[in-house]
Symmetry: D2
Subunit: 321 residues, 4 copies
């Protein structure tokens, strides 16, 4: 029997992307698309690509479901939960950042939902804090080194698509401004740094310093990151560490070839490659920020928490071009 699913904040980008994924997921039935601001409107009126894909209407009243995804602005998930104490049988997956650093809320313990390091905990969880987009791309690039205590100072630049800024109309998401343009934001001060370091420092014995400069890119989907790290190991050895670390991770591809961002767009994959010069390595990683960086990873976590194959509903046709 299919599990019933509700999405709180279904009108946003990550919420609608969950609809795109779950509409075709074999083990679940979408039952509730919750939105205060757009109640009464068909989701396909907001997102016309969803016409003939999902007929549901956005609602602002709740109904019982087995699985609840929270797609709310940061700090809103905690407020929302405080008002509506969901039965602990309900699996809650929060796509915001309220529970990523400190995971307790009432009786619930939110597990950090990065399957590549927390698979067995997610498997037992009723509450999952889905990682941030840059946090996913950068952690997957760093964790195999952290496990070997090889990290110290990390210098990372990452670039993200406009969907990372959500659907609100802002000067920095105005087409005229953003087209063919590049800019930096939250330089050395992005909120994902703490999230990354928390996990990295669980593995790396020595305290890691992460210097991260995020850039806005002139594309809609995708994240590409390059991290420069001091490392004396042979490149071949480093690749072995990565391949071993991800040997049971179906969505992480460790590539010895040159990678590009678009090869993972519209998929749940993360692709990683490594290059070395002298005693420095550069680790590149790429994801689709709305999939492995948000809604795709949330579905992966849902699958794991339910004991289903983690790739279920995530065999997505790559965009490729």
């Amino acid at each position: 029997m299919k599990k019933s699913v509700g999405i709180i904040g279904a009108n946003g980008y990550t919420g609608s992307e969950l609809v795109r994924l779950l509409a075709f997921h074999p083990n679940v039935e979408l039952r509730l698309l919750y939105s205060r601001s757009n109640a009464g409107i068909k989701i396909s009126d907001l997102y016309p690509d969803l016409e003939s894909v999902c007929d549901l209407v956005l609602e602002n009243t709740l109904r019982p479901v087995d699985i609840l995804f929270l797609c709310l602005p940061h700090t809103e998930s905690a407020k929302w939960l405080a008002k509506r104490l969901a039965d602990t049988d309900v699996l809650i997956i929060d796509l915001g950042n309220d529970f990523r650093l400190s995971g307790y809320f009432g009786d619930r313990e939110f597990i950090y939902g990065l399957p590549e390091i927390n698979f067995s905990k997610i498997n037992q969880a009723n509450s999952i804090a889905n990682p941030g987009c840059f946090a996913t791309a950068i952690q997957l690039a760093l964790l195999p080194l952290a496990k070997e205590n090889l990290l110290k100072d990390v210098y990372t630049t990452g670039i993200t698509g406009s969907t990372g800024a959500g659907q609100s109309l802002q000067p920095t998401t105005h087409f005229t401004w953003r087209n063919d343009n590049i800019s930096a934001y939250k330089t050395l001060n992005h909120q994902h740094v703490d999230e990354i370091l928390k996990q990295v420092n669980l593995l790396n014995k020595e305290e890691v310093e992460l210097n991260f400069v995020p850039w806005r890119g002139d594309f809609a989907r995708g994240i590409f990151t390059s991290s420069i790290i001091g490392c004396d190991l042979e490149l071949e050895t480093i690749y072995s560490l990565y391949k071993d670390f991800y040997k049971d991770s179906p969505f992480v591809k460790v590539s010895e070839k040159s990678i590009d961002m678009k090869q993972v767009v519209n998929t749940n994959f993360c692709v990683i490659s490594i290059e070395k010069q002298g005693n420095k390595i550069a680790v590149h990683s790429a994801i689709d920020n709305l999939l492995k960086g948000a809604s795709g990873q949330a579905v992966q976590n849902m699958n794991i928490a339910n004991g289903w194959e983690q790739t279920l509903g995530l065999n997505l046709k790559p965009l490729a071009f």
Copy 2:
């Protein structure tokens, strides 16, 4: 039991797009990726998005399969078939234009593979000529009017993504030139006009004249067309004709709202809308040129010819953004 599939010319864009679709199709098994120029190379070395999706190696020797897709340059399909007479049990779907206008080849009769008008013939066919990309988008915009004998002079502009020009490196597909650029090509002289008129004139009693100007767009995937046509009917009546015509067509969406190209990118849908001023209407249509305009429609045809649900393997997550 799954049917076995071979793709001739698997190294090109439409061939590789078939791989992306068929790798996850429940009723078929990809068994042969044929390519003379790239034999011995893994398809995922040419298209890195296919890593972890398809492990097959391109080959230049044939092996028996149940279903054969021909993804060859125009005029090459006929040559290829002339050399290798496939058993008539083998379903052949040709994505080139060799058999679109005149469908006989030896014992085989190629059925024009536009399911919205030829469903029952495709259902019985062992040979299918898959329509062209612009031909699909424009026919779907015109056929409901043709059925009512309402067409006379049609003025159409269409714009296509760079994938329509294939993978060869040309000045007009050079990024520096094409980025932010628009240009016309094959003005009033595109090879798809005859293909369109053949089908349109089967329905429309009066001879139709199609004046078509194709444009190159600064995007990779998609086709958008607008056709201006004299028409005295009320808009409401026209919409009724369209909705009735496509009532059994799961991949055609007739929309009374403003449409945009990106709402169908990475899907097999065609979306159509109509506007009226005075005694003129404009019919807009949009498709993904590699899916409903090529490989997606080919899979749809395969499904129909095999008696399967026509949407099988084609419930694709829209790109949306």
Copy 3:
């Protein structure tokens, strides 16, 4: 001695583009940048490209100038003039559409500012109605035929960059939506049709019908149009008509080669080419919508009205790439 210039509505796209042009114009001095909403702010704080180019601060008080450009939303120019009767010695160039169809306002007669047909009138004018962007591109494509009374039914598609929609943040100028997207708007109903027909019908004896479908393009600057027209003349003859018509027009290039939009971006040129099949021709034209389609043409008109070389300050380095 330099003439003094004021720009009313200097904070918008066409206003700021005038600043970019006039900052380097040898015969004028920018003295007044007027803006109600942004008074007190440096123009270079709104448009950082203007730093080191123009140091002026936006003001909301007037001061005497020799030349006044009005860059106001449609209908606002007439209101503005009604309140502040400028001395008739002041040259007024209105970039809005208030005076394009009917040019009288008090003692002033606004001359339609398309230099290719109205050079001598502009030369005598103290009031100029600067043409619309699509209106410029389409008229320049049609006028040589109109002069020979060769127009009857015209079918035109045009595509425009996002700057045509101005600086306000709208869903259709949101980067996430517009990137890689194409859509139609104001189908068969664009406000420039009347403006075009007024001029065309002054030349063409027979009443012309213009069926125009505008598209939104996924680029910031530029307009490309294709018009289909019945025509029995030889292509060579048609080209002769065009070359003769534009023989004294330094900013119109009649090309017998394939043209593309980007070749005129960041210039004041219009490029036109013509193709023929059977008894139909297609006339393609391209301009930069902010230059020949707005601020560049306004400077050209200013030059002519002052008796200066019309190319003065308009020898712009093409973007090219």
Copy 4:
């Protein structure tokens, strides 16, 4: 009297960009466009934006000129000079990298043409090695710190437009691949690192280590770089150093606001901003790779070497949008 100019390799991107600049330069006359591969062709047939801008035909025979720009592939300038010993009266400006590191060739001493540090030498020079594009953007970001001996380890990411890869058709400049895509290349191994360090180490007493990862961007023009550097000074103090360093440099803008790449596209400006967190700073810089990164800087050098105002012919209208 105007000086006569020749461009060797005028058919490439930097050569044609020189034509765009010099066609409107008040003190020079373009007399020779030299190209072996395209001799006999009008430059405007290769670059249609140059129609009505420059009528010259490419030639493969030399003629005497006062100033010679070499726009040849790397290593070709030295070969070219070896064959044709130009009179030492002729000013030679080489846009390749043959003389950037070691500047002697026969009687000629090539001065490194970064006006912000070598103005007085350039002023006396008859031979100038024009800096590389990334080298310009990164040096201008680092030199004020080097002068204060503040550099040690530098971590830089830079992104460049497709024009940086020239006009040859390559898989990485194919529109279908590059559109909406990001990738790294020459990681930690770019040829400009040595060029940068040579100049930086002339100022910085301590040996500097530059870890540079270049990215390919999905746009045609522009470079944006971010460099992370340890620094204990107050941000205000750092800004003072930069403003003081560039107080006589008309093309360098030190901005305390957020910057973006497009604000300098189609100009000869470099814009720099600095941010600080803890004891780390990030210095961002942006240029147009074909102007301040190549042909614009070459004209600036020509102006300085001739004793002309260095901005002559370089008051370019910014693209802005």
